[in-house]
Amino acid sequence: MLLRRRGLDKRLSHNHNDSIPTNTMTAAIDVQQLTKRYDAVTALSDISFSVQPGEIMGFLGPNGAGKTTTLRILTGMIAPTQGSVRINGLDVTQHPLEVRRQIGYLPENVALYPELRVKEYLDYRAQIKGVPGIQCKKRVQAVMEQCALTDMQRRLIGRLSKGYRQRVALADCLLAQPKVLILDEPTVGLDPHQIRQTREFILALGRTTTILLSTHILPEVEMICQKVIIIDRGRIRAVDTPDRLRRSLSAFGVVRVQLRADMNQAMPALQQLAGIAKVSRQGEADGFFMLDIEPKEGQDVREPVFLLASQRGWTLRELSAQRASLEDVFVHLTTHEQTTEGAVQGAPA
């Protein structure tokens, strides 16, 4: 899709500034000027964002953009080079245990102990998470029911399918009733049925919990998340609702036109029209020519095109602004002039 890059970027970054609240005292997750360097490689540079209590925030980015690095810093697995992370107002590096007690973390690579049985594993996790002894049994039963694992409690984790293992890990996340859930690609490797279940599950959880959901499956974000962060090569490219991101792109989007006319006259006439940057022919069907018209920055060209067509007596069959999908936004924001190889090397996943 052809887009005016600079104008859109300006608009997106404007939205980005709007969405960062000035008062971050109550934020469930508050990240300020976070930078992470590995020797010469900068995995994250100057990232700031916050997630309000009860929000489901999507965390989007291509592979190697720095998603997992960010999540690992949030969970205290690795330390940031610079910047601060606060979970419910507590600094991750200063109060690592308190913070970890408030977080349920589902890592990208769910590695459990294959030699343990489901219930055994959850009992163990409840104990190390400091769930009080009397509640342990109740909590384990509760999460197993929540994640539909009750029938599997005697199974060895090593014998479970990927989907069930994921559920065990999710159940583990919920054991200590955390206020913040950090989920790193929770639906990767699941079948469509399981993906749907997991999404519904996350949506249900989101009513009571703050969730930061990392993924690169875009429909998932559109379905689940109230807000999205798009990150690329260690930098935040946009923070907004999926809907507004899409609209911001559509405003500059391509207009699809189908008309019956003499193309030798029509093409130059259209090109001379004010506000049109480029017209390209896409094909022909039943005597109608399909054109994609790329408008100049911030212009809606549908009306001038219609007026021109009626004035010249062309038959107009379609005149529609192409609605951008989140995918378009994502691709637009994360496509680089250089090769994408640099980005892959740029940050360890």
């Binding site: 590995y38 690095t69 690992r72 969970t75 205290g76 697995m77 690795i78 330390a79 245990l97 308190e98 970890r100 007690r101 977080i103 973390y105 890592p107 690579n109 590695a111 459990l112 102990y113 030699e115 343990l116 055994e120 163990y124 996790r125 104990q127 190390i128 998470k129 400091g130 002894g133 890990a169 583990d172 200590a176 360890p348």
Partner: protein, 247 residues
């Protein structure tokens, strides 16, 4: 149950369920079975004085060291390497437990398993005691010494396990270090300076075990074991706290 106990119990459980645990136990008991058989052969020899020190036959012999060299690296090699390789370390380190608790639980898990294996051999002495009189003192000293020395060797094994994500390399590494420590005593043959000899003697494990088997429980080797254990575990803690190790 507090977190450390839960972590340690998990270590023991995983070891018990894993093929490594079963294999090590089986091999250990096989070797000790041969030792028991040899003990009976020796004791049946009419030329042997039955009051001969029982503990010296058992502790410090060839099979004693073989058992040690097999059990310690195999019990410790998986502790960190396996978690690092599979990635389960991430869920462990993002749980609300301290690094100290994690390191200690790995150490305690392996040490308790080691102690349990040796405890099984007490049966031999109980059986032998019914047929031949001997003093329990040196036997007890031998066991206590074996446990304390084992703590040091296991701490070293846990450290080597934290250094690589490959179990085999970690096990080999621990094995070679054990072997080198074991051989320190040989140096005393090449050194003339009496003070240097005294230091080498102090570090020589076979010398220690011979002392234990005589019923001499000295605090000096105990201090050595305790300090090496502490240093190894502290170093392990430093390794797993390292950002490079975690990423």
């Amino acid at each position: 149950m507090n977190a450390l106990a839960a972590l340690t119990f998990r270590e023991l459980k995983s070891l018990w369920y894993s093929p490594i645990g079963a294999t090590v136990s089986a091999l250990f008991l096989l070797i000790q079975g041969v030792v028991f058989w040899l003990l009976i052969l020796i004791l049946n020899d009419p030329r042997v004085d039955p009051s001969w020190n029982m503990a010296r036959l058992f502790f410090g012999g060839f099979f004693y060291w073989i058992s040690l060299f097999i059990t310690v690296p195999t019990l410790t090699m998986r502790t960190f390497s396996e978690e690092k390789r599979t990635g389960s370390i991430e869920l462990l380190l993002t749980a609300p437990v301290t690094e100290t608790q994690v390191v200690l639980s790995k150490f305690l898990g392996a040490w308790i398993a080691y102690a349990l294996l040796w405890t099984l051999t007490i049966v031999y002495f109980v059986v032998l005691r019914a047929y031949t009189p001997f003093d329990w003192g040196p036997v007890a000293a031998g066991y206590i010494g074996t446990l304390l020395m084992g703590a040091m060797l296991i701490a070293i094994g846990v450290l080597t396990s934290s250094l690589t994500r490959n179990q085999v390399i970690s096990g080999l590494f621990a094995f070679v270090i054990l072997l080198l420590i074991f051989c320190v005593g040989i140096l005393s043959m090449f050194v003339r300076d009496p003070e240097a000899v005294a230091i080498i003697r102090y570090l020589s494990l076979p010398d220690h075990v011979n002392q234990f088997a005589k019923g001499l429980l000295d605090t000096r080797p105990a201090v050595l074991y305790a300090s090496v254990t502490a240093i190894s575990l502290l170093l392990t803690g430093r390794v797993i706290a390292n950002p490079r190790w975690r990423s």
